[in-house]
Every structure is written in C-alpha cells, then in structure tokens.
Symmetry: C2
C-alpha cells in the first residue's frame, strides 16, 4: 500500500499475480500491454477519483500498479465503511456478480492496468495455475475481511488502532525491508476503516505519541517505537498471539 511517493518513480508492474507469467514488466509499459497473454489498458488517475462506484456494472478487472486505492461501502445515512486499502500489485475485483458491491476511489495519483472481465475469466478458466492463484488471492482477501470484522467488532478503539498500526507497519516492511516512516491514510479514512470517528483516531494517536509508543511525522508519517506495547494494546494479533492463546481457551 505504498502510495506514489512522487510522480516520477513508479514501481514495476509485476505483482504477486503470476510472477512467472507476466509478459509486461518494468515501468515503461505502453498503454496497451500484455499480462498473462491478456491485453490490458493502462489508466492513470489523479487523487480522489472514482475508479468505479457501488452498483456500477462490473465489466473490468483492475490491477493496481502504482498509487493507493480505498474500497468502501456507504449506507443511506451517509456513513461509510472502508473495506480495505489497495496498493501496487493488488487486484481490485474478486466479485463474480453483475454489479460492483463496493466503490473504489484513488487516494493518491494512481496507475491501473484494466482488463475486460470476459477475456480475463476466460483466460483464468483455461489456465488452472492462474485461476488457482486468483483463488488464493481471493482467499487472502477474505481472511483480511475476517480480521477487519474481528477488529471492528471486538477490539476497543485503542485496540483497533493498535492493530491497524501493526498491520500498516507489516505491509511497509514487506514492501521494502528498509523503511523509516510508515505511510498512513487520512485520519478520516482510518476512522471509516475501523468504525470510529476522526476525532477518536486523532485522540488515540496523540495518546500513543505521548506514551512514546509511536512517532508521528507530518500528517501521514508514522513509526513504531514500541512494537510489543502496541501489540499488547491490540490484545492479540491474528498472526502473532492468536494461535497460541487459542489453544488454551478452547477447552
């Protein structure tokens, strides 16, 4: 979920998706390029643009190659739930429904590869390895959604934000082994992701800073100073603590 640090350095458009099969890689892809034997179009978006909205006919599949995207649902009363943040090498659409079940907006300047949905799934159906990879990605996404439900439903505000910061840190670490500050979304986006308000997010982030758990740089920068303390506040991350403790609890 690395945003475009500046507009002139774009990560290569290879991804988790079928690394061996990628025909097109590097930063110089033409608008028309081929991935997995499929032609796709390159689309560039400025920040805060709709890529698609909830209810739109679903006729394309998107691969993020640069930038940052938020997926969200909204309710009639105006409340918004962000389902996740997507970055380079993330695929946007797993739904096999005629219409999008959520919307997607760019958070920063973003580049996408766009596949027509028909050929995309036709290709998947004809290549078990690709389809299995796709399936695994969907399963991973499902796992993240479950983790989100756990966070929103069962952790308090502090715990939610602690878990969120740990996740953001983990992602950043995975993206590049050496990193100093972790990029965070706007407070309001964090809030809508965790089912809180901007004020609560801001307050708790401030309290974490005061306690020396994190360092905040500018509006978007964050660095974990005391990972174990943050981990404790999260009352168990799915990956680190969860497993061990489960065994005791469940008879």
């Amino acid at each position: 979920m690395e945003p475009l640090q500046s507009n002139n350095q774009l990560p290569p458009c290879i991804g988790k998706l079928g690394a061996g099969d990628v025909v097109c890689s590097g930063t110089n892809c033409l608008p028309e390029c081929r991935i997995l034997g499929l032609s796709c179009r390159l689309r560039k978006f400025a920040a805060r643009q709709d890529i698609f909205v909830q209810g739109d006919v679903q006729n394309q599949v998107y691969l993020v190659t640069a930038g940052a995207v938020r997926l969200y649902k909204v309710l009639c009363n105006g409340r918004r739930q962000i389902m996740g943040f997507k970055g380079p090498s993330d695929l946007l659409c797993f739904d096999r429904t005629p219409r999008h079940g959520f919307g997607a907006q760019t958070m920063t300047a973003t580049e996408l590869r766009v596949f027509p949905i028909g050929p995309f799934y036709a290709a998947a159906a004809s290549d078990p390895r690709f389809l299995l990879k796709l399936y695994s990605e969907a399963a991973a996404e499902l796992s993240r959604a479950h983790e989100l439900a756990l966070t929103i439903g069962q952790r308090g505000a502090e715990g939610s934000i602690a878990a969120f910061l740990l996740d953001a840190d983990r992602r950043a670490a995975k993206a590049s082994a050496e990193y100093d500050y972790v990029w965070l979304p706007m407070r309001g986006d964090i809030a809508d992701y965790l089912g809180l308000t901007t004020e609560t997010v801001s307050r708790i982030l401030s309290s974490f800073k005061k306690k020396g758990l994190v360092e905040l740089r500018g509006r978007r920068g964050m660095r974990l100073l005391n990972r174990t303390a943050v981990l404790n506040l999260a009352t168990g991350s799915a990956e680190d603590l969860g497993r061990r403790v489960m065994q005791e609890r469940l008879h």
Copy 2:
C-alpha cells in the same frame, strides 16, 4: 442455515457446489461416498462440538450436509467474533494457508462430508469448472464478510439487528419458499456476530416485538411482521436500498 429440526429428517447432501457433478445425493450416503469424483468421509457431530479450532493444521475441507455451524475468531481477552453461520450445502474452508484462521463449532447436531485437502485441490486444479465454482463461492463469502464489516462498523445496535433479521429471513425464504418461523441462533451468538452483548440483543429484540415489527416464538423462532419498517431501521441493505442511494451520494 436450517438447523436439524429433529434428528430424523436430513436434507439431501446435494449443494450449490457443482450440482451437476454430485455423484452422491440423498440422505442415505454411506460414510464413504464420492462427490466430484472425490471420496469423502461422513462425519456426524453432536451440538456444541469443535470441528476444528483456530491454529489447527488445515488438512481437510468440509461440506456441511445437515445442521448448523458457527465460524469464529477469539482474542486474548476472551472476546469472540463470529464470522458467519453455515448450513447445508455450505463449504467451510476457503483458506489456502497451512493453518486455520478461525475455529468452527457445531450449533446443533450436524453432518459433514470431509475431503482430504490435497486431493480436493488437485481435483480443483484439474477441473476449471469446479475451480471456478469454488472461486465464486469464495467471492460470495468475501462479499458476506464485507457486509458484516459494514454492519458492525457503521450501523447502530438497532440497525445491526435489523439487518441480521432481514438476512436470516432471506436465507430462510431461499431454503424453502413456504416457511413460517425463521430460526435464530442463541442470543449470545447473535451478539458475538454483531459485535454486541446478549443483553443488548435481547433488549432490542424485545423492543422490536413491542413495536410490532417481529413476532418471537420460543427462544429460536422469529417472524417478520413489518419488513419495510425493519428495512428502514437497517438504514439500507446492501442489496435493496444501497445501490440506488449510492448514485446520488457519490457526486
């Protein structure tokens, strides 16, 4: 998600999953049966048994053929988030990870068909139609998880329960066109599904009854009396209201 009404009537073990490919159907399957050219074992569980727990090595795939199952995660502090309720024709495991990310327990007497995971995915890899079906199921599960996150994060307690009742009713209607009362899980399970407490669930259900929105029969029975009023309380269901209103809101 129809539970075993009584122990002697079992729904047939055909399912959403590759209806045309099911070799074994009906209630008289032997412990060793074949579905999709795969041999599977029949396993029967009493109520309140662990099928598997979070952290267990994942070496089997389960198809529910009768009964009701809850999937859940727990936190170190003991809080539990139920990810979903499963019934006949539901598949339990989409994860492609070495270990289970959540636990599964029976809620009532339950029958499962158990597939060893290796052959299951080997078969999937060799049959694009089956794999695509599997992928669609995973995508549907993802969609449900997103809806859950929306509910927990953005709807109030009343809205959550309203949305839950509508969903339960919809499921029941899908299972059998003529139904009188909808089966509900224990209050505690509803609570842990919606990120609430048993007390809150109980209170709100009582208030719905008082307002004439629902009729409650015994501990498990529910019937919607005023669907539109309940729909309003849910401030928009993803399927019914969502789409239309989205279009206005998003510029």
